[in-house]
């Protein structure tokens, strides 16, 4: 084993050295409040606007359409609740999907509790929504469609442009949670008719605790964090200047290398997928094959093996990976995403997500392929579920 192999880049990433170096001056030297009018804060204001430009360029938006937040979750909350509360007295209807991140699902549930109607679109076995279903779900009072750009567990990329077109035709706001996509695959909010887009810095080697919401010019949503006049009066609180600077820089770097990195990671991803399918019997790939999948996402279910045991066994072998989504790892529920793509509970409990990153090498992949099969077979041998499964398989194949 050569050091630790970190294959949980969808959970979080480390901050790039270059990014951290850009941030450092704003902690101690240039620490002024950007809202202050004295010259000491001028550098900070400039730094804020530079970052806004970097973010805007990355998704083909205008700088004035970028609002910094405290992370992807806040951006998601703002988009949903902001659109809902902008309607004041009248409730209305939101369309989203069954495989959204909890930041969307729990915000939607909160709104449902307040009297809004929510439709959760189902997905096919690869995790994609059906555009026909979306069309059928629109109602007179539908004011918002929120469909994630790419799924955090199984990497499925949604037909975002087509969704955007349908929403535009109906004059319905289209929000996309692009936390897993930004910096990893190309995004163009203009061409894709996106009205709002959430992103989070720590998913592309920026710092934790800072994100952004793109709000197309002219889109009126209620503020979410009320208070001072920061961010043109739309998002209050003293600006996290080092964090915002880090976000912009990290995104700029990611966009510079997006072509080479997505090609490189796709190649490693496919090597890992192929290797697992070849060496581990009854390995089930979750999410799409090569097409329409995030370049860095690999997700398998190994019938008979529970996810947490896998993570801990891999951890002992020096590999960091995850099962389900990171934030639900403390919970007992199987992944709602895996259930939505039609897995039974046995398979849902046995998922392994490995998400590659800029530091992942071919050697890392080979090491995983050397290590994983033995772990799976050892745990299967002590699993009554595997015993039952094999017995049934034999019955079926006889």
């Amino acid at each position: 084993m050569i050091g630790r192999i970190y294959l949980d880049n969808a959970a979080t990433t480390g901050t790039d050295t270059e990014v951290l170096n850009e941030m450092l001056p704003y902690f101690m030297e240039s620490f002024g409040n950007p809202s202050s009018i004295y010259s000491f804060s001028r550098d900070n204001r400039i730094a804020l606007e530079r970052s806004r430009g970097q973010v805007a360029r990355a998704i083909n938006a205008e700088p004035a359409e970028i609002y910094f937040t405290g992370g992807g979750t806040e951006s998601d909350n703002w988009a949903l609740k902001g659109a809902a509360f902008a309607r004041r007295g009248s409730r209305g209807h939101i369309i989203t999907t069954m495989i959204e991140h909890h930041a969307i699902l729990h915000s939607a549930e909160f709104l449902a509790g307040m009297g809004y109607d929510v439709t959760y679109l189902p997905v096919d076995e690869e995790g994609r929504i059906d555009l026909k279903e979306l069309e059928g779900a629109f109602r007179e009072d539908t004011f918002l469609v929120s469909v994630m750009f790419a799924n955090n567990e199984i990497g499925t990329i949604q037909p975002v442009s087509e969704i955007g077109r349908l929403c535009k035709k109906r004059n319905v706001l289209f929000h996309t949670d692009a936390v897993q996509a930004v910096g990893h695959i190309p995004i163009d909010v203009k061409a894709m008719h996106i009205d709002m887009l959430s992103l989070s810095a720590h998913k592309f080697h920026g710092p934790k605790g800072v994100g952004a919401l793109f709000i197309r010019r002219g889109v009126k949503i209620e503020n979410f964090i009320h208070g001072g006049g920061q961010e043109k009066g739309r998002r209050a609180s003293t600006e996290n200047v080092p964090g915002i600077v880090g976000l912009g820089k990290a995104l700029e770097i990611s966009i510079q290398r997006i072509g080479t990195e997505s090609a490189r990671q796709s190649m490693l991803r496919d090597r890992l997928i192929k290797g697992i399918l070849e060496t581990i019997p009854y390995a089930r790939l979750n999410g799409p094959g090569e097409d329409g999948r995030l370049p860095n996402n690999v997700n398998f279910s190994f019938i008979g093996v529970e996810g947490e045991t896998l993570i801990l066994d891999l951890d002992e072998a020096g590999i960091s990976a995850s099962t389900g989504s990171a934030c639900s790892s403390g919970s007992l529920d199987p992944s709602h995403v895996l259930l939505a793509i039609g897995l039974d509970h046995a398979h849902s409990h046995g998922s392994l997500r490995m998400t590659l990153g800029t530091c992942t090498s071919e050697n890392d992949i080979d090491y995983v392929l050397d290590t994983l099969p033995a772990i799976i077979s050892r745990r299967r041998e002590m699993s009554p579920l595997w015993e039952d499964f094999l017995r049934n398989e034999k019955k079926v194949t006889i």
Binding site: E308, T309, L332, M382, S383, L385
Partner: protein
């Protein structure tokens, strides 16, 4: 998150496997909960001479199975029956609150295996809850 004891029993579980010709078998849990535990026992003179388990589940489920089997091995059935999930968790230096149900699974699987044995012997199965103490008392006197 987990104590060293839990990690030790998870990584090197004791008494894993099957007994080819068991005197009692218990299986509890289901894939929906994410935990299945199967326990085989070999009984001689009301004493658990051998015990094996297979477990599908998280680290604490596996560690609880391992620890529970260690604790009842060589013990009289009535003592084994009395093994509480709290005792198993305590022997593991504690379990996270959300994982306490895993130790309960071990307790239940042992109960099932014991009652399976009793039924095979033509004996009345013991009852869960305080009820069974009465019977144990009788036996004791």
């Amino acid at each position: 998150m987990y104590s060293d004891k839990v990690m030790d029993h998870f990584r090197n579980p004791r008494n894993v496997g099957e007994i080819v010709d068991p005197d009692g078998v218990g299986q509890v849990g289901n894939p929906k909960c994410g935990d299945i535990m199967k326990i085989y026992i070999k009984v001689e003179n009301d004493i658990i001479r051998d015990i094996r388990f297979k477990t599908f589940g998280c680290a604490s489920a596996i560690a609880s199975s391992s620890m529970a089997t260690e604790m009842v091995k060589g013990k009289p059935l009535r003592e084994a029956w009395d093994l509480s999930n709290r005792a198993v968790a305590a022997a593991l230096d504690g379990l996270p609150p959300v994982k306490m149900h895993c130790s309960l699974l071990a307790e239940e699987a042992i109960h099932q295996a014991i009652n399976d044995y009793r039924e095979r012997m033509g004996l009345e199965p013991w009852k869960e809850g305080p009820g069974h103490f009465a019977e144990l008392e009788e036996h004791g006197h």
